[in-house]
């Protein structure tokens, strides 16, 4: 029994231990920063944890706090939804050997398309209108990602550079569309804001009031399933993985390498475009130019994908972690006497950076474990997968 457990651990350790250990390490170092600037990391992290709303799930949370926790949890899940999708935008091309930094631009492309389709066609029935709006967003994201893919496939332009450029073009371009006197500015003459999404194109609410959790989360979870099946169970996924591991060998085996590049970046872009649609059709219902400038969803998606090691389940958990960090560090939940919220926002970014850093150097933890084994110690037990790790 023990042997089997050890064997399982050995096999699964990179997949489970690395992300969990990495996250813990990042939080410990983040805690050091907190402590050194004269705050109590323990209470700061507890406050952040409660801010995520995950305490809703704890049995001892009192009923008074429960409403507040529910509100926070709804917000966490609202952020988690697009993060899962923008993470997929990174994960799929990653399996094909590419690093898509263009999730943000593809997300913005999706927002624009969702608004254009979602704010027109008020007479359509909900399923039709919603489907059209989602499809338009996915297509726009796919087109934006596909440009980078086509550039890679035809002239070998490095996708990292081209997607960075496409991000800025999308961000400024979308601001242009909705700015004052812009071509797509909404009905308010003084406000640089888009048209409103008509009710027929809004995603249904599933939990809460005012800014409730919307059905987009099911869309994101479905996308994770699609991704899993696509990568592991289809010829397409097989070919993508072959190209990702060894493009030369894949080419020798008759796999169309260039097409895989274009297809994965386009499908990845479609996921990011859906993320934009989820936000716009789920809770924003319009976009102000300022929102485009400050949005970070696509960039955080990179961290989510890396932490989730590009696996479907990993991405789901990592998105919950990062969504929780976003919401938990907000001022609403954080008592300023415990930890100043302005610092908390930056702390969240530091922790994200540390996680990416450590996940990139998988060896770090493997070495640590080996060192323990050499000293004859037992391998560390698998910690319960607690995505907040607070």
């Amino acid at each position: 029994m023990r042997d089997r457990a050890t064997a399982w651990l050995t096999a699964k350790s990179p997949a489970v231990l690395l992300p969990v250990g990495t996250t813990l390490l990042a939080f410990v170092i983040g805690g050091l920063v907190v402590a050194l600037t004269g705050h109590n990391p323990g209470s700061a992290y507890r406050a952040i944890f409660n801010g995520t709303g995950l305490n809703y799930l704890l049995p001892w949370t009192s009923s008074e706090d429960k409403d507040f926790a529910a509100l926070n949890l709804q917000q966490t899940l609202i952020i988690t939804t697009p993060l899962m999708l923008t993470a997929l935008a990174v994960a799929l091309p990653y399996r094909c050997g590419m690093f898509n930094i263009g999730g943000q631009g593809q997300y913005v492309a999706g927002i624009v398309a969702a608004i254009v389709v979602g704010s027109h066609g008020a007479g359509l029935s909900k399923p039709v209108h919603l489907t059209l709006a989602l499809a338009a967003a996915a297509l726009a994201g796919a087109a934006w990602g596909g440009i980078a893919g086509a550039m890679k496939a035809t002239v070998g332009a490095h996708e990292v550079i081209s997607t960075i450029m496409l991000n800025w073009i999308a961000i400024y371009g979308a601001q242009y569309l909705f700015e004052l006197n812009g071509p797509l500015q909404g009905p308010l003459p003084d406000v640089p804001q888009s048209d409103e999404i008509t009710s027929s194109a809004k995603l249904p609410a599933v939990w809460g009031v005012l800014q409730p959790l919307h059905a987009g989360i099911f869309l994101a979870l479905a996308a994770l399933v699609v991704y899993y099946v696509l990568i592991n169970r289809t010829v397409f996924g097989y070919e993508v993985r072959a190209v990702g591991y060894n493009a030369d060998a894949a080419g020798y085996g008759g796999i169309p390498v260039a097409r895989s590049y274009v297809a994965t970046l386009a499908i990845g872009g479609a996921f990011a475009g859906l993320a934009g649609a989820c936000d716009v059709l789920g809770w924003e219902f319009h976009i102000v130019t300022n929102d485009i400038a400050v949005s970070q969803i696509g960039f955080i998606g990179i961290a989510v994908a890396l932490l989730g090691r590009n696996s479907a389940i990993g991405i789901a958990l990592a998105a919950l972690l990062f969504g929780g960090l976003q919401v938990g560090t907000s001022a609403r939940a954080l008592d300023p006497t415990v930890f100043p919220p302005q610092l908390a926002g930056n702390l969240a970014v530091i922790i994200q950076g540390l996680i990416i850093l450590f996940i990139g150097a998988q060896l770090l933890l493997v070495y640590a474990w080996r060192a323990r084994r050499r000293r004859g110690a037992e391998p560390p037990p698998v910690p319960r997968v607690d995505p907040t790790a607070a």
Partner: protein, 343 residues
Amino acid sequence: MKRPRILGLGALAAVAAVALLAAACGGGDSGSSTPAAGSGGGGGKVFKIGLVTDIGGLDDKSFNHLAFVGIQRAKSQLGIDFKVLESHQESEYVPNLQTLAAQHYDLVIAVGFLMDGAIKQVAKAFPDVNFAIIDDAPSPALPNVQGLLFKEQESGYLAGYLGALESKSGTISTVGGQKIPPVDHYIAGFQAGAEAANPQVKTLNDYSNSFTDTAKCKQLALNQISQGSDVVFQVAGGCGLGALSAAKEKNVWGIGVDADQAYLGDYILTSAIKKVDVAVFDTIKQIVDGTFKGGIVTTFDATKGATGLGAINSAVPQSDIQKLDDQASQLKSGAITPPDTVS
């Protein structure tokens, strides 16, 4: 294969070192800007006031910051109790407003027109809670929401008037952050005021498209200065500091915005002021006095002393100040109504 483990620890140490360096730099005055929830003293009911900032945050050196100043003054003078919630992203507007409303705050103030949609939603859900929103006139009006608007164009007008008077070259300019209403109000007023002072004046205007890229704001201002501008009015928040830096470097006048920015140096001609603190304080006072009314829009203008200029540079001749005072009184009387859109 033994070495990398040690090096792994070395890397960890280096990461920690970077983090610590950052931390060590800030040993001293941690949390200096921490808004503290006060406990109201004195007898009677202690009113609870909530403030929700937009994504600019309290450090925007602009209206969020000024709103905070106003609520602090209300605490010390009116004995209210308050809580400030900063929003880091748009998705926090509704939950932040909702949280304060659910806790039965007597007044919830939203700062910034970006929260227009959010406040409409929350106000409908909490009809018993009073709301106010700065820089926005909710349409259609809601019975429990008061809009607080500013005539930034009046401040801009006076700034432009003074700028044109002090300009030797006959060319003056504005650097806007983004083409959004509060920014354009200032610029429109500035251009009208300049023309009133000197019909031949030439006004230049550029947008940086960023409230953070100080280098770009500076470069735009330098370009304007090279085209002859000798008065630069920044309407770009933090980015605008770059524009003022260009004015300083090239020995031309700079004009600050929102708050009084005279502290930056004696190259500051004046600042176009928008007294958000006054608006916040006044509105809170209405609550305390029981005179608060929803469904209306209160416009803060020169007559309420909410718009106008900050400290005027001592180098400005008295004759010009008199002309300026004359314009200011005409604004108050309504004889002059500057435009609020940039042509």
